[in-house]
Amino acid sequence: MQDTVEKKYTFKDFASDQEVRWCPGCDDYVILRSMQKALPDMGVKKEDVVFISGIGCSSRFPYYIDSYGMHSIHGRAAAISSGVKLANPDLSVWMITGDGDSLAIGGNHFIHVLRRNLNLNIILFNNEIYGLTKGQFSPTSLIGQKTKSSPYGNTQPPFHPGELALGAQARFFARLGGNSPKEMTALFVEAEKFKGTSLIEILQNCVIFNDGCFTQFTDKKIKEDKQIFLEHGKPMIFGKERDKGLVLNGLKLEVVTIGENGVTEEDILVHNAKCEDNTLHQMLVKLQYPLATGIIRSYEDSTFEEREAMLNEQVKSKSGFSKVDELFFSGETYEVK
């Protein structure tokens, strides 16, 4: 675990001297600012923070944070982050990635990093498009979506990152709209606290190539009616009037109105993010209406580095060797005189 800090940082301590070069209006700015605000609240030392990214618009992120960082190659941030964390488990490692970066070229690394459950944090900037290469469809683009590389409409069905992640045994999955800075700041702090791989999907608007792709959920005016913000231990209630809720009807989640047809608050499902069984979490990530946001799953489990450390200790206590010379001269050797 990271040493806790005595020194109090402000968000300025984490702003680098590099000029930020995203398109004006891009949600990436919101994410950056939320992160710079969250970092001082995490209780980690600045020198222990490492940002690792792949390639894409979002992946320029590490340049803008004044800590250690690597802007690497397309799709491989998960493996690089894993190496950093395995080399030094005391670091606070943040992987920054996009939907193309992690779900297309880096798909393999993405599922395996979740499976292993290192204690690191992943922020997936999902804008349902390739930004940096100027507007081709991505693995999260919708069927029928017209893009530079699908002028007549995309014919490849999309991945839902949450579904994919839970299928790969993600222990922590959260989702948030790109225009919710306050919740985002708090969420980043929560993710850092979580022991294990935490995956945060941000629905990030790309003003240039996919503008408004999430407004049906994120538009300020309708947000509360179209989204449900989940909190562990709280009933799944949403809506401007806080009168809508989720119940389980057979094998389906269903929206009900409190006060109608005899439905009371007691009937509404209470969110349990921390249970091992992810069946309900899977239903929540698939839900189209309302869109589930907040921490959908947060199940603490042993981490890869913990399991490795335990094994190392066991091997160490059994092995007679502490210096390689002892190994070299052990076993079957013979003298030439």
Binding site: R76, G83, K85, S322
Partner: protein, 621 residues
């Protein structure tokens, strides 16, 4: 049993002081074990040894088939032995397929031991024999010893209550016992080995011991097999030895480098033949703090290593040809970020999946140039199983001291072959300096360089005040920030190349062995060392003015390369590829003429062929 008349041809001195034995059989017959036991026993007796395991790519190829033959060749000598040998003095064939595929290597007049029980109609058919070679006279030129090995093994074990499979499985020990008697070897090493290996299955240990002794006494009692040669201990430098194969030696070299440099060792790897054994070896050593990570693919193998390197570990990744192809982009990243990283490529027959269990040297150009952009890295190659230890250590030292990736080339031949290794202690190894900095100076920048090596400093996450960002985009020459400035790109391209070039100031000169000048220079690199060395030794002994220059450093080349080449009338570049080093030499040293000698059969060079080729070239002078 037929014992044909031996034609005692006049033998060269060397063949009296060394013998080459090959055990062949079905891939389930335990030939590798038989071979390694004979090797270890001979080494402990004091012989110099070199081995060549040769096995099929299929784990369980159809029994008795020609492509399912597994062989193990060992060369033992009372003189220096540098290859597993060309032609055989003794062939032990456990089945017809083994006989068919290996007989050509046996010297006429020499001994052939055959398990006749396996020469059934079915097995003969599988080996595509139209007539039985035991009956059709085709073995007339050899000294054939027909033994009912399977039935005698059964007989020996009949009272032990073992199942049929366990019984027939131990017939390889019958063969080994016979060979032990023939070459006057002590059985104790192997008997101890059984006790160790079957600690918890004492009845299996006993059965193997019984069969081994049965073979030994059979050979003795029948007195039909004379002790052909008495191979005396060789005169090797004094010291403590052990038998090491190239992959283990490579792994140990890295363990040594980690301890010497005070860094923790990180391996990111994905299994691929014939490199996997390095992973197998390193995962055992968690007690030394080794972090061996079996990744989801080669790209994750190398990139996890880059992450570990960024975080301050001695990071390596191991692979074979196709895996190196996948790692190319990431090696470029390590080069650009100027982080230490060793990439081991245990070459195998290519291209594509090629010949996974056979040897070749055709990844040289991939190692030198197989990346996008101007992307120079240090490339070195080990040349014998034991010196894989030194070159793994050297690769680690170079990458840490020069802050740029190093590709270490070995190959399937030396990776699986074994030889005596005079054990080195950590204190005998050279010091390794790192460029780790732990404090911020007034003027510190991430891309500040050492004046001599041009290495960048290594500021490791967790160090206060040195926070910085690296990445694959072009760097400003001082701050390391992203820079698209044209002059800066050219400057950085040049300095990365110059950094690698300056490594020539830190590596040993090229040496021509046997003769420093003369009529002919044999040039080689990597795992062909033993064959070239033996060939040149023979030529030299016959008075030819032939030298042998072997490249361990392929980028940069040793500084005196041109000088060495200039001393010979003719130069032959010998490679197990179509001429990759020759191509590079032609462009680097165009003032010389190069003759190429190439072989791409998945097999090592034959010393006999090399000698003949060299004589021909000299004759043409």
């Amino acid at each position: 049993m037929t014992v044909n008349k031996i034609q005692t041809a006049e033998q060269e001195v060397e063949s009296l002081s060394a013998v080459v034995i090959r055990f062949v059989g079905d891939s389930g017959d335990g030939m590798q074990l038989t071979g390694t036991q004979f090797t270890d026993t001979s080494a402990m007796f004091g012989n110099d040894v070199a081995t060549f395991p040769n096995y099929p790519a299929e784990i369980r190829a159809p029994q008795g088939s020609l492509y399912g033959v597994s062989g193990y060749q060992v060369h033992i000598g009372s003189i220096e032995v540098s290859t597993p040998g060309d032609d055989l003095d003794l062939l032990v064939a456990m089945n017809p397929a083994g006989l068919k595929t290996n007989l050509h290597a046996l010297k006429p007049g020499h001994t052939l031991i055959i398990d006749v029980d396996s020469f059934s109609k079915k097995n003969l058919q599988k080996a595509e024999y139209e007539t039985n070679p035991l009956e059709d006279g085709s073995l007339e030129n050899y000294r054939v010893i027909e033994v009912s090995m399977t039935s005698m093994t059964k007989e020996a074990l009949k009272d032990m209550g073992l199942d049929n499979k366990s019984i027939t499985r131990s017939k390889n020990m019958f063969a080994l016992g016979m060979v032990y008697w023939m070459y006057d070897r002590d059985m104790n090493h192997t008997l101890n080995f059984f006790d160790q290996k079957f600690k918890y299955k004492p009845e299996i240990a006993q059965a193997n011991a019984k069969v081994l002794k049965a073979g030994y006494y059979y050979a003795e009692t029948l007195e039909l097999i004379p002790n052909a040669y008495k191979i005396m201990p060789s005169e090797m430098p004094k010291g403590t030895y052990r038998i090491l194969n190239g992959n283990t030696a490579t792994a140990w070299g890295f363990l040594a480098a980690a301890e010497k440099s005070g860094l923790e060792l990180f391996l990111g790897s994905y299994p691929i033949t014939p490199a996997t054994d390095i992973l197998h070896e390193l995962v055992k050593h968690k007690n030394f703090g080794v972090k061996a990570f079996q990744a989801e693919d080669e790209i994750a193998g190398v990139t996890s290593a880059i992450g570990a390197s960024f975080a301050g570990d001695l990071a390596i990744t191991t692979t074979s040809g196709p895996g190196l192809a996948l790692k190319g982009e990431a090696i470029g990243l390590a080069m650009m970020t100027e982080l230490p990283l060793v990439i081991v490529n245990v070459q195998r027959g290519g291209p594509s999946t090629g010949l996974p269990t056979k040897t070749e040297q055709s990844d040289l150009l991939q190692a030198l140039y197989g990346r996008n952009g101007e992307s120079p890295v240090i490339v070195i190659a080990a040349s014998t199983p034991a010196n894989c230890f030194d070159y793994a250590f050297e690769a680690a030292k170079l990458t840490l001291e020069h802050m740029t990736p190093v590709i270490l080339l070995t190959d399937g031949y030396i990776a699986n072959g074994s030889e005596p290794w005079r054990i080195k202690s950590i204190k005998d190894m050279p010091e390794i300096m790192t460029h780790v900095i732990d404090e911020r100076s007034e003027t510190w920048h991430p891309y500040d360089r050492d004046n001599d090596t041009l290495s960048r400093n290594w500021a490791i996450p967790g160090t206060p005040g040195l926070e910085h960002r690296v990445g694959g985009l072009e760097k400003d020459k001082i701050t390391g920030n992203v820079s698209y400035v044209p002059d800066n790109h050219e400057y950085m391209t040049n300095i990365r190349a110059e950094k690698v070039k300056r490594v020539e100031n830190y590596i040993p000169d090229l040496e021509a062995e046997y003769n420093e000048e003369g009529d002919l220079l044999l040039i080689g690199w990597g795992g062909t060392y033993g064959s070239l060395h033996s060939a040149v030794r023979k030529l030299d002994a016959k008075g030819y003015k032939v030298g042998h220059a072997h490249f361990h450093y392929l980028n940069p080349f040793p500084k005196n390369t041109a000088e060495v080449l200039s001393k010979f009338k003719k130069i032959v570049v010998c490679e197990l590829n179509k001429g990759q080093l020759a191509k590079v030499l032609k462009s680097r040293f165009p003032e010389f003429e190069y003759i190429q000698y190439n072989k791409v059969m998945g097999l090592p060079f034959s010393v006999t062929d090399l000698v003949a080729k060299s004589k021909n070239i000299i004759k043409d002078n």
